[in-house]
């Protein structure tokens, strides 16, 4: 017997290596790792084409959480609620991970073994030198004022939120989401599963972008280029020309740390973190699922695949992923793992996941994500204001999914 698992990205494949061996040994099966060597978007295209035709691998990773709800609705994923609840590793997961894995229909379809946690990273040294406060900002206004102050005092850009089409799902996953949860309308789905995009919060979030862009607090030019993250994150931030940016838990290791090409010396000291504040107070550690795994509903070996899925959820695999990608394990027990403890940069963030919040997922989020990218792109190009950006988002979603999906 064989099960086919689709993986994506060399780091992910490396991270899975020992797990694969373990599955093979434990269940006496052959595991065939199918490598889909494409960027997220093309990976998803291929995966969906295969799922639609009924020819997908038995087990696969999904590049963005936003796609999950749609896939569930399409009937591509096999529910694992019963198995995962019976599985002994589950109890040890953070709540936020458990909740993120639950689909609108109440079933669980994915293994939420890794969390993506993002915060605002800032150059403590630059701020200190310029005499700017490094306190956690309390509100959006606080945040924007801080950015303006940085700009004024140091000439560096004050704050970066991912935006635009070429950042892909990042505009939504790494930017918009973090703000919306702290807004006046913190969720995008209403009770009957409709998308609530006309809320005031959406407009307010776009207004934050708008102010950052209009006041030249955020570098817009590179964001319109082909790899928007390269210049700001790997060149401007280390050079101190950008003083604060959203970033994930991996940043201390890969972007500026020991694994980086352009490391910042003593990064943990020089770079500090703030959580994203709410619009009028509160602090939000937003978590989302990173690379959740799921099972092909049409798989010939669903039972076997489920067993394999539980193996993927093991603490060892989590740590292995954490080491290679820098995401945060969902198991609280990971803290006790010797290998994980070596990832000193991740340990405090792992602990913070206890307070994690999340955005409720719904079908159509893939479209919303693309719509946010388009709306922020228009803002970047200074073509519209916050209300206009919201209209772009709403129109795109309506156009794509039909008028009745949007509230």
């Amino acid at each position: 017997e064989t099960i086919r698992i689709a993986n994506h990205g060399q780091a992910g494949i490396d991270a899975m290596k020992s797990t694969v061996e373990k599955i093979e040994k434990k269940y006496g099966v052959t595991v065939e790792v199918v490598e889909y060597p494409a960027p997220d978007k093309d990976y998803l295209t291929k995966l969906l084409t295969e799922l639609g035709a009924g020819n997908a691998p038995d087990l696969f990773s999904i590049p963005t959480t936003a796609a999950v709800a749609d896939m569930v609705e399409a009937g591509y994923l096999a529910p694992v609620t019963k198995e995962i609840k019976a599985w002994d590793g589950y109890a040890n997961f953070y709540d936020v991970a458990k909740q993120l894995a639950v689909s609108p229909d109440g079933e669980t379809y994915v293994m939420p073994f890794m969390l993506g946690i993002q915060e605002i990273y800032y150059r403590k040294d630059v701020l200190d030198k310029a005499g700017i406060s490094t306190e956690q900002p309390k509100t959006w206004k606080d945040l924007l004022d801080r950015a303006a102050e940085i700009k004024k005092k140091t000439g560096a850009y004050g704050l970066l939120f991912p935006a635009g089409v070429s950042w892909g799902s990042g505009a939504f996953d790494e930017g918009f989401q973090h703000l919306i949860v702290g807004s006046k309308t913190p969720q995008l789905v209403d009770a009957d599963g409709k998308l609530d995009l006309n809320g005031e919060g959406v407009k307010d979030v776009f207004d934050v972008y708008k102010q950052l862009i209009d006041n030249d607090l955020m570098p817009t030019q590179p964001l319109l280029g082909p790899e928007p993250w390269v210049v700001p994150k790997y060149q401007m931030f280390p050079a101190g020309k950008l003083a604060a940016t959203t970033c994930g838990s991996w940043c201390y290791i890969f972007d500026w740390g020991r694994e980086s090409k352009n490391p910042i010396p003593e990064v943990t000291k020089v770079v500090g973190t703030w959580t994203v504040p709410g619009q009028s107070g509160g602090q939000y550690v937003l978590a989302n699922l990173a690379a959740p795994w799921a099972i092909n509903a049409k798989s010939a070996n669903v039972e076997l695949a489920k067993k394999a899925l539980m193996e993927i959820g093991s603490v060892e695999t989590q740590v292995s992923y954490a080491a290679r990608i820098g995401n945060i394990p969902s198991s609280k027990d990971a803290a006790k793992n010797a290998d994980f403890q070596k990832l000193t940069e991740l340990v405090p963030i792992h602990a913070a996941a206890e307070k994690g919040t999340f955005l409720k997922q719904a079908s159509g989020f893939g479209t919303v994500s693309e719509g946010v990218a388009r709306a922020t792109e228009a803002l970047l190009r200074k073509e519209t204001d916050a209300a206009g950006a919201q209209k772009i988002l709403v129109d795109y979603v309506k156009e794509t999914l039909g008028d009745d999906v949007v509230k």
Partner: protein, 295 residues
Amino acid sequence: MARNVHERRTERQLLLILLPSLALLLAFVIYPALYSVYLSFTNEALTGAAALRPRFVGIRNYARLLNDATFWNALLVTFLFVVGSAVIGQFALGLVTAMALRRRIHFRRLFSSIILLPNAAPEVVAGFMWISMLAGGEQATLSRIVSFFGVTPADWLQVFPLSMIIVVNTWRGIATAMILLTAGLSTIPNEIYEAARMDGATPSQMFRRITLPLMMPTILLYMLISAVSTIAVFGLVYALTRGGPGGATELVSIYIYNQSFTAFQLGYGAAVAVVALLISLILGVGYVRAMKVEV
């Protein structure tokens, strides 16, 4: 049609050897195309609820298409792109090179080899090379070239997106135009030019009154072939701009891709393809009839 054994036998043999090509085309082009026509009447999607239970929606996709400003924008962009790159850019540069290469000058092989290079670059690679040329403001090669001449550089793909993809596609297609037009030029006998010289024609008169009219059949056929191929251009532009910014370079082919593989709306994407095919068909047949293009 055929009156006698011999002709019937010949025709039968010819059909027989065309059959493999016909079979492949039927299986891998015509059948999927027809299937697309069917899809265009459904709400088939690649993901979401519609993927699970696709429904027949009649002409709803087409009705939606009519009111879809983005689609009309894509049509317009495609039209400008085809006219700009195939009809004007590639043609003009191709004609100039073909005529220059007709002269007995040195380095002809070298020149023509270099001009053929872009055609050899795979779309993805060509895309990268041009991103390096155009993207990201000051550091782009083009910016550095123009600032050498004292012109203020711009973020080319943001400021002049459509013009830039026209330039890039022109770059890629000069060679094809050059080859076809060289072939056309070579059918004009030298004697005609000498006759014109004896008649006292200046070079520009020769071009306007001899070369152009005599090249007309070649040019008309070239226009058809290049326009048709340019409508389907996808990878190169997608690699460069993904249709942006703000739909400024969203060709119909990219629009179809975005509908099918970004929004995952297969039915609607198919409707767009069908309409694009129909429009091309009408224009193409009209063109062939009106211009009496000979095959």
